[in-house]
């Protein structure tokens, strides 16, 4: 009973997600700043580390505006739903050697499906905002999600095929340096698809400030915006955790196993992501579609063939 409670609200549940959100938000800003030749948050707390705590607390207590003419049910329920759906994948990820909070034979499936649902919720937020830019942003989220989820699923399928299991714990246990090398192409595809799913440059098309203001987030303020922000950062966590568990052996490390290693691996993914963000301009919707369907999906299919071949060659 107490264990379940701790799982749900402390680790890997709500509190963990909140700490992660505050930390990652700060890390994004602080790491981005030197690439911009700036300092970043500095005066609040050591190296500005309280800054994002203040930012998010402020959002939480500000007025939440529900604009005139919107479907207020859809407008208000979606942010909450997005957070809940975003939090669920954490339950099936094997954060520590003692296994996930919720063991399941199909944990990989649960992970990718829950990640895959998120963009549809964002689409509905845009759809319910009664704003032309939100609507365009919503449509863009949907278009982009459909384009990248295929590649994302196929890339996530590669480890499952290789290890013959849909259970993340089994995948992590069986992983080794050899499997890491064989799954490297799948990891690369996963990473590109991750950029698309998480709307990061060069695929930050749905919330392209200069084109559609803030996409589906345009009308959101106060607590609702806080929730949507939270759900986005939690989604980051789930997707990074997926990368860590599927390809990089999760908690496994040198000298000792533990959550620290998992954390470092997720941060490594974040670092690469932010560096790309600081040096790549956005591409257009058409270019994104062409890239995804002409290149990424065919390559991920070929990759599956490679994984099966490698398994037959080296591990049978």
């Amino acid at each position: 009973m107490l264990g379940t409670f701790i799982d749900a609200f402390v680790f890997p549940g709500l509190l963990y997600a909140l700490v992660w959100t505050v930390g990652l938000f700060w890390f994004f800003r602080k790491f981005m700043a030197p690439l911009h030749k700036r300092v970043g948050p500095y005066f609040n707390g050591p190296h500005g580390s309280y800054q994002t705590l203040f930012d998010l607390s402020k959002l939480w207590t500000k007025e939440s505006i529900t604009p005139k003419g919107v479907n207020s049910y859809l407008f208000s329920i979606m942010p909450l739903l997005a957070v809940v759906i975003g939090l669920l994948p954490a339950a099936v990820v094997p954060w520590t050697p003692s296994g996930p909070a919720l063991s399941s034979q199909y944990s990989l499936l649960i992970l990718v499906v829950l990640i895959g649902i998120e963009p549809f919720l964002f689409f509905l937020t845009g759809f319910g905002s009664e704003n032309k830019y939100s609507f365009l942003g919503g449509i863009r989220v949907l278009t982009q999600a459909i384009s990248f989820e295929t590649a994302f699923f196929l890339a996530a399928l590669a480890p499952a095929l290789f290890f013959g299991s849909l259970d993340l714990s089994v995948i992590v246990e069986k992983s080794s340096w050899g499997s890491f090398l064989i799954l490297l192409p799948a990891f690369a595809i996963y990473f590109v698809a991750l950029l698309g799913l998480l709307e990061q440059p060069p695929f930050n098309i749905p919330d392209a400030e200069q084109e559609v203001v803030y996409g589906f987030l345009t009308e959101y303020s106060g607590t609702n915006y806080f929730l949507l922000n939270l759900s986005k950062f939690v989604e980051f966590m789930a997707v990074f955790a997926g990368a860590g568990a599927l390809y990089m052996g999760a908690y496994k490390g040198i000298f000792f196993d533990g959550y620290t290693w998992f954390f470092l691996k997720m941060v490594a993914v974040a670092v690469v992501m932010i560096t790309i963000r600081a040096a790549t301009p956005r591409i257009t919707l058409n270019q994104m579609l062409a890239f995804s369907w002409r290149w990424l999906v065919p390559i991920s299919l070929i990759n599956l063939a490679w994984v099966l071949l490698a398994r037959a060659l080296f591990f049978s």
Binding site: K37, V212, A279, R282, I283, L285
Partner: protein, 551 residues
């Protein structure tokens, strides 16, 4: 260059003129007897190669009861220009003239502006609506000499209500016109938009596809041309430099040249070199923002911040010289405002060192960025012919491969002694425009180095006296006269048309032709049939500043 100035004179021969004179080496000035011939003149000019109309500038003379129309025709390729005047009655009922837009497309918005400000009706104009004005001025023609500003300004809040009513009526008309079940809509791209600045593009689109763009401008209209008539000749530079703050030095230079021409004053070589030096510093500070902004439109802010880092050093130089980072007011009729302290050269050297240390990085990471090139090479294509017909200028024109630069075509300040060449890039796409601006950055630094060396040598040899030579006296009262001056501003050609009355203390009429006007005019042609993602990029690549768009 087969075509010569004689050709222009010959083209004018067949019309009845009061006079035709050689105004400047590259300018003819002629006055038509009858305003009805203006379209025929435009056709003749076009046949001769003067295909661009720089601007239309009416001058209101209430005592004589006439509205004097000034047309400035330009040939951007062969450095030949012609200034055509004619007179029409100023009585609002009869204040009419034939539109030359069907012959010279670049006149379109300039005629609309003349209509809005002076009430000159252009017959056969394809789209004669009010431009720039806010709705409370509709039908009032604020630049006419008999416009009563004090009476109009009494009911300021009433005017705001009128503006709101007008806006709401427009939105309702849109809603009524569009099919509620369809996917067509009208987007207001600006003024509250992260990338627009104070301009509103009414984008009619079907989902992501653009069906048409109608720019609504005038959100930073300060009526500068009207404002200067209430200031003295020196005070007017405050208004002139606010044409656009990004490059304020060169616009002041243009205005001061016009004043000096009427006053008959020749400035010292030292002041000329200083104008060149400061002008190029301002150009760099503008181009830094321009290249940064180009990438901002694609969601990448890094280059903007790197550029701002370098730009600060150049602003330091301006601040040390004039006391202000941006609003320098450093150029004055008669020379430059302040004597030069040679310590400024050390500061300038610091800025140049910083530039040299950074520009390589910016070039490798951003100027050659494959993603940008992949995207920007496909959109916003302008051929050389189109660019000339639409009256584009500056880096945007040169990106289409046209060799045109006022600094070389009609040298002013000390540009006749500077070693430089046209920076042209063939292609005319958004990527080429970025490339041009980027190359001009390097060119400006080269010019600054030359100017710096020349000033240092001149001071060392005693040729220049930096504490005295900066200024020659210009009388406070000017004779009656009229002058046209052109400068190469950061964004393109600025033409100043200054009119003074006898013993005038302030300008009677100042027309500022600013490049962003034409650059915004062509947005519809460039964006039609493209997608929403292309709006910010094309808009950013046209290097538009709302300040000089509205004036």
């Amino acid at each position: 260059m087969s075509k010569s100035m004689e050709g222009v004179a010959k083209a004018l021969e067949s019309f009845e003129t009061e006079y035709v004179e050689n105004y400047k080496p590259t300018w003819f000035k002629a006055k038509l007897k009858s305003p009805d011939e203006i379209v025929a003149v435009a056709e003749a000019m076009k046949a001769e190669g003067l295909r661009t109309l720089s601007t239309v500038s009416p001058t209101d003379w209430p005592e004589e009861g006439i509205m004097e129309m000034n047309y400035f025709f330009e040939d951007l390729e062969t450095k030949r220009n012609c200034w055509v005047k004619c007179e029409i009655p100023r009585d609002p009922e009869r204040c009419e003239i034939d539109s030359i837009t069907p012959v010279v497309p670049s006149a379109e918005w300039h005629e609309r502006e003349a209509y809005s400000m002076f009430g000159v009706r252009f017959r056969n104009h394809p789209d004669l609506r009010y431009l720039i004005l806010s709705p409370d001025y509709y039908g009032k023609f604020p630049f006419r000499a008999d416009f009563d500003m004090a009476a109009h300004e009494k009911e300021q809040l009433e005017h705001v209500k009128e503006i709101v009513r007008d806006f709401k009526a427009e939105q309702e008309a849109n809603d009524a016109e569009l099919d509620p079940e369809g996917s067509e809509m009208v987007l207001n791209w600006g003024p509250t938009h992260p990338a627009s600045g104070p301009i509103r593009l009414k984008v009619r689109c079907d989902g992501e596809d653009i069906l048409g763009v109608d720019p609504e401008i005038g959100y930073v209209w300060r009526a500068l041309e009207n404002l200067v008539t209430r200031k003295d000749f020196v005070g007017a530079i405050v208004a002139v430099e606010r044409l656009c703050f990004m490059d304020n030095i060169n616009s002041m230079t243009g205005y001061c040249m016009a004043v000096e021409e009427i006053a008959g004053v020749e400035i010292t070589p030292f002041a000329k070199w200083m104008r060149t030096l400061l002008g190029e510093i301002a150009r760099i500070s503008s181009h830094m923002m321009g290249t940064g902004n180009f990438y901002n439109t694609m969601g990448l802010h890094t280059i903007m911040l790197w550029n701002l880092d370098v730009r600060e050093y150049f602003l330091d130089v301006l601040e040390s010289y004039s006391g202000a980072r941006i609003a320098t007011a450093a150029i004055e009729p008669g020379g430059v405002r302040y004597p030069l302290d040679m310590k400024l050269m050390d500061e300038l050297q610091r800025a140049l060192d910083k530039f040299d240390a950074t520009i390589g990085d910016i070039e490798t990471v951003f100027a050659k960025n494959p993603t940008m090139r992949h995207r920007a090479r496909k959109i916003g294509k302008i051929s050389a012919q189109e660019a000339i017909d639409w009256g584009l200028s500056g880096p945007v024109l040169r990106a289409s491969g046209v060799r045109s630069d006022v600094r070389l075509d009609e040298p002013y300040a000390a540009y006749d002694q500077v070693e430089m060449d046209y920076v042209t890039v063939p292609g005319g796409t958004a990527a080429d425009r970025f490339q041009t601006i980027f190359e001009e950055l390097k060119q400006s630094v080269k010019i600054i180095k030359q100017a710096k060396k020349r000033i240092e040598e001149g001071v060392a040899s005693g040729e220049f006296d930096p504490s005295k030579d900066h200024m020659v006296k210009v009388p406070k009262k000017l004779p009656a006269g009229e002058a046209v001056s052109r400068v190469e501003w950061a964004r393109g050609e600025v033409l100043m048309h200054l009119v003074t009355k006898e013993k005038a203390k302030s300008p009677y009429r100042l027309k500022m032709r600013a490049p962003s006007f034409n650059h915004t005019m062509v947005l519809d042609r460039l964006l039609r049939g493209k997608t929403l993602s292309d709006i910010p990029l094309v808009f950013g690549s046209m290097y538009v500043c709302q300040g000089d768009l509205d004036r």
